[in-house]
């Protein structure tokens, strides 16, 4: 692997990311699966870095899951999106940051479609007016939340209490980065680093002291694929996709997977459990799995957040070996305590996955 070659490509795919003043929209899935990630994002950007990140409880889903599952038509999803944009405009923002990759892809797709077919945009104006009596304005800058953390990566590094380094060996952690398909595969120019060698997460890993792993199936989908997962009969395909990725990354012995998409950390995490329990195969050290974390969780870890505050206990694959490697102190007894200190109850133990 020739690093300079990749640098050359990265230099060609750079996008403008404003420094401040964003209208923030959440992700349906992340709110449910990794709620602490979004909280951490807001905490880091607002409280630690002092940025103006606005959010309103009036925003809704982008409609992406329904759209990609072929249950609602494009005009409907566009109108939902237009409503979000209207909310942004209403609150006086021009920069739009979304937490979800599906949403990000859909926003890009919608904006590009409107660019190609202005008459469709006009129709959506009309739809929105009819349905909500709202007028919308397109965001001046559309970024994904990971773009923002990428933008702030060096500031975060400056405030970090630890690096992505194995404290016992001093070696950098080997990190697999996994980008959500809809981040840049549809529009390579919309993603930092393009589609072939996306830099958005690589930049964070480099800034925070980790070592990137380029394994052969790095481009492959996590296996979510909407319908492939939603219908139980198809889940074998979803599982097989993920399996293919793990088989491919296994020889590289990664310590950690970092993702920027709602579905990816979920599937890369849960399917490790399914593979382990149905075939006996595990991919981490000594029967453990490979932790699949969100970029906010990783940022939180290097900045010294408590792992349980970051919600790492919601992962199926145990994060303890990673925390040990990084030298993160944690209280195992508090793993399954709620915010109020009450015991939430712990999951039943796995047969194969440690």
């Amino acid at each position: 692997m020739i690093y300079e070659g990749k640098q050359k490509i990265w230099s060609e795919y750079q996008k403008e990311i404003p420094d401040d003043h964003y209208f923030y929209v959440r992700s349906c899935i992340r709110q449910s699966f990794f709620p602490a990630s979004e909280a951490t994002f807001l905490d880091i950007t607002r409280n630690v870095l002092g940025k103006d990140i606005f959010e309103t409880e009036h925003h809704t889903t982008c409609g992406g899951i329904a759209y990609h599952s072929d249950t609602i038509p494009q005009e409907t999803v566009m109108t939902i999106i237009a409503r979000q944009f209207a909310l942004m405009a209403k609150h006086g923002y021009e920069n739009y940051v979304c937490s979800c990759i599906t949403s990000f892809g859909l926003y890009c797709e919608t904006m590009e479609t409107w660019r190609e077919y202005p008459e469709l945009e006009a129709k959506i104006h009309e739809n929105l007016w009819k349905s909500c009596k709202l007028e919308f304005a397109k965001p001046k800058f559309l970024v994904h939340a990971s773009d923002l953390i990428y933008k702030y990566r060096n500031m975060i590094a400056a405030q970090a209490v630890r690096k992505l380094v194995n404290v016992h060996t001093g070696e950098p952690l080997k990190v697999v980065e996994h980008i959500g398909c809809h981040y840049s595969k549809m529009f390579p120019s919309k993603g930092v680093g393009g589609a072939e060698y996306p830099y958005v997460l690589v930049g964070m890993i480099e800034a925070w002291g980790g070592e990137i792993v380029d394994y052969p199936e790095r481009r492959h989908c996590c296996g979510f694929g909407f319908r492939q997962y939603f219908i139980k009969g198809n889940r074998g395909y979803s599982l097989s996709n993920t399996h293919k990725k793990f088989e491919s990354m296994e020889p590289f012995k990664p310590d950690l997977i970092i993702t920027n998409c709602p579905g990816c950390p979920y599937f890369l995490d849960r399917w490790q459990y399914v593979i382990a329990e149905s075939t006996g195969k595990t991919y981490g050290q000594d029967g453990h799995g490979i932790p699949a974390l969100t970029y906010e969780e990783v940022a939180g870890l290097v900045m010294g957040y408590d792992p349980w505050d970051l919600g790492l206990q919601t992962h199926q694959v145990g994060v303890e070996p990673l925390l040990d490697k990084m030298g993160v102190e944690y209280d195992p007894a508090k793993k399954y305590l709620g915010k109020n200190g009450k015991d939430l109850g712990s999951p039943s133990p796995c047969a194969c996955l440690k």
Partner: protein, 351 residues
Amino acid sequence: MKNNILIIGGGPAGLEASAQLQRMGYNVILIEKDSSLGGHLAKWDRLFPDGVPADEVLSGLIRSTEGVKLFTETEIRAINRLEKSYNVRLTNGITVLSDAVLIASGFDLFNAVKKEEYGYGIYDRVITNADLEAYFKTGSDKRIDHPKRIGFVHCVGSRDEKSGCRSCSKVCCATAVKQAIEVKEAFPDAEVFCFYMDLRLFGRHYEDLYLKAQKEYGIRFIRGRVAEVSENLDGTLIVKAEDTVASKPLKATLDLLVLMSGMRPSASGKAVGDLLEMTVEEDGYFAVRSGIAAGQRSLLPGLFLAGTATGPKTLPETLADARAAAVEIDRYLTEIFPDARNYKQLVRERW
């Protein structure tokens, strides 16, 4: 009085046209931006279909240009069209008043880096056709270390709208088959795969070359474009394609991947074209007066084209095109140019 003719480009087309026009008695000025003549031919080792050494062909071409005024490392600084002639200022400070100008600016090889999924410039063992020729010529390339499995990807930057080229580059199929044979000769134990979309082996003896590659060298031809290349821990490559004949996706682990970079319009040629305000077609190559009947005449009087400046050509086609251009120039300079009184009308009628 001898007419001045300026020929831009010292590749095969420029050399051949220079030689022909020189023989006809014209005053030929040949300029070449590089320090040496020959263009891509100078970088090639052997030529399809018979494996003739490129050096031999090139030195023959250069020998025949004796008497031509040659300026290497020279480009055009400015060019003015006078009433009939062109006033050309060269970067070496010389100004030429030329009665006819022949653009033989050739082609650029497609920059394979642009096909990001193939990882040229990123993976250690991905090379291009030009790299392989250089290896054949010099015998050394650190990327080529006794490969056991070698793949050739046809149509890299050709027939690919996303890389900006819809059309076929014409020479890559035959080059790939030739190189596959050569690489098999160099590494007899290797398995060699050619990934093609269509095999366009149209010329005389080309099909024999293909048959030889299959029969004597056991080269495997797979119909399907390589879509993805990845690197393993040990530096070997995983190539993914569809075998469209079998209608099944496939993967193969390779030690070396050769990208058959296609032909793109020459960037320096385009710069010259811009100076002259020449028309360029959608494919980036210069427009000609008539693709069938006047393939060497540009849309501007006195301005001629030869070789791959007007689209991909094989070497013999390029040479034939250059000879045709010489005849066209001669016709122009004898029939149209001398008649000062009727010049404009003649141009209208006969250009």
